[in-house]
Structure formats: structure tokens, C-alpha cells
Subunit: 171 residues, 2 copies
């Protein structure tokens, strides 16, 4: 195995819930390189099914790509929180719905080249609207979409978000 040994952290940038560091590392062959790594908490992403043909999507401005995106609801797991509890919390915050049943579909690492993030994907069923208050600082709007129309957006390359593409492959 080609291990890479950390020699030192040169500098770290910290945001509220995650950080980016520049590390100096030594490769197996003695070469010295610098690696950027994001230290990120676990995250959850949810497929909220209103029926077998309808899904709740959220529209959100994503600063890193400078665009408004249509995505499945998602968010970071808080310290000490269980992923399943984060699913219920994020669902309520981002859509105003509560789910009777949630089921874990898969977990994956979106960007192993520079991030330790792991995203747990769940499907949520038995949805009840219980609030009109959304996380308005983050979410522009919440849209109920037909799965067929959503698949067409994906096939046309109109949705490029990895977690949304991977999740919808399960449906």
C-alpha cells in the first residue's frame, strides 16, 4: 500500500462546521507533496417521496458553483446527532414535512481526492406537512416534482448534483 505520511499542517481555513487544511506529506518513495484536505462532518441526503411518483425537491443557491440548483434535501449531521435524527431535522427545516418512515439506502464518499465527507442517503415515505416555515436563509423554494419530469432533467444534464443523481438511481 502506497501510504502517505503527514509531516505537518501548513495552514487551516475554518468555516462554521468544517475546515480545509494544507498538509505537507511524504510519499512511500520519499517524495514530499502538499495535499489539500477538507475535514467535514457526516452528512445526510433524503429522497422525500410524497407518492411513488412524486418527490419533494429544494432549490438552493450554491456559492461554490455560483448557481441556483434543484436538489434533494440534505445537510450535515450535528455533533452527537444520529444520521437518522439528522434526516428528520433536515427534512422539517428544508421542506416543512415530517416522514412516518425513513430507510437507509446507501452511504458514499463524494470527493475522496480532497474530502473525508461521507453522505448517508435515505428514502422518506409517509409524508405529512406540519410547518410552513423553511430555512429561508438557505432554501429558495421547495418544489413537488413528478419523478418522470425529474428523470428527464437528469437525462438532459440539467441536474449535475452528484448526490441527487446517485440517489435517484435507486428509484
Amino acid at each position: 500500500m502506497n501510504m502517505e505520511k503527514k509531516l505537518r499542517t501548513i495552514a487551516t481555513l475554518r468555516a462554521r462546521s468544517f475546515s480545509a487544511s494544507l498538509d505537507q506529506v511524504e510519499l512511500q518513495n520519499g517524495q514530499i507533496k502538499e495535499r489539500i484536505r477538507i475535514d467535514h462532518p457526516e452528512a445526510v441526503a433524503i429522497i422525500p417521496l410524497l407518492s411513488e411518483s412524486e418527490i419533494i425537491m429544494v432549490r438552493q443557491f450554491r456559492y461554490a458553483i455560483g448557481k441556483d440548483t434543484l436538489e434533494i434535501p440534505a445537510g450535515k449531521v450535528d455533533a452527537g446527532e444520529k444520521p437518522a435524527d439528522a434526516v428528520h431535522r433536515e427534512l422539517l427545516e428544508e421542506t416543512g414535512y415530517k416522514a412516518d418512515h425513513i430507510e437507509h439506502l446507501c452511504s458514499y464518499q463524494p470527493a475522496i481526492g480532497y474530502s473525508n465527507e461521507i453522505i448517508h442517503i435515505y428514502v422518506a415515505r409517509g409524508m405529512h406537512k406540519i410547518s410552513r416555515l423553511l430555512d429561508e436563509a438557505e432554501i429558495s423554494s421547495c418544489e413537488i416534482m413528478d419523478l418522470g419530469a425529474l428523470r428527464k432533467l437528469l437525462a438532459d444534464g440539467e441536474i449535475l448534483d452528484g448526490k441527487t443523481m446517485l440517489a435517484l438511481g435507486f428509484l
Copy 2:
């Protein structure tokens, strides 16, 4: 649309081919927040099919997750390079093979929460081994795998790499 306006870049970390910045931004509601963003070149990932049931995978140490992973070959597109040319270059560097035909399957953004990276996924067919020299600083080994065995690793959660999971959904 909930735009976020950049006020300033507080600090930037630079690696050889990409950077991480901490920006101060202003939300639509006037709130000031800090955002980490990775500025990353385009990338390609390749499904190299030796036959309809055999794929070439690479084993690689990934510093950000501190682990050895089994993945499809992938890499960054160089400045001025076309994605299709990067596919042929990375395939040769990481596996020693040349492909007669490549086909673009989809493009996606792996981590829109903090990175502008876009990955173009290609399938490669008509493979010829033309070199034994691999990029040994990066790649530990190159393994020919049966697609059925690979699907079992994915189903068992033994492979968590997003691009590999998404790509194999096309087969």
C-alpha cells in the same frame, strides 16, 4: 433566487492543481457568512471495459480519507487539454492501456456544497495493453475485476467512492 455576494477572500490555500479559499459572503437577507470553496479543474473518470464483464480498476491511497481505495481510473484535465484527451492520458498513466473507442456517459458535480469540480464520466472499449509503466507515485496497483464481483463489493458497502458508484450504475 437567494444569491450570495462575495465581499472578500479572507485566505487561500494552494496545492499544485487546485486551491481552497475562505470567502466572506453576504446573503440576500443581509446576513454575513463565511464559505469555504474549492476551486478545482475539470476532471475525468473512466470505465475501462476489457470485455462486457471485465473492468480495469485501480488501487490508490487517498490521503483525505487515510485509506487505500479501489476505484475506476480518474484524474484532472490539464490546462488547455480536452476532456477526451485527458481520458486517454489518464488511462495510459494509470493502467498502461490504450482504448480504441471512448464514449461520454454523463457529467456531474460531486460536492456542490464546497467545490466547483465537475467530473466527466466516460466508458472505454477496445482496450490494448501498451505499457507496463504506471504512475507508481499515485497508483498502488491495477486490477482486472469481474463486474459481478464488483457489484457485490458495491452492494456490501465495500466501495464508497462516489464516482465509481455513479459510473457503475450505467452498466
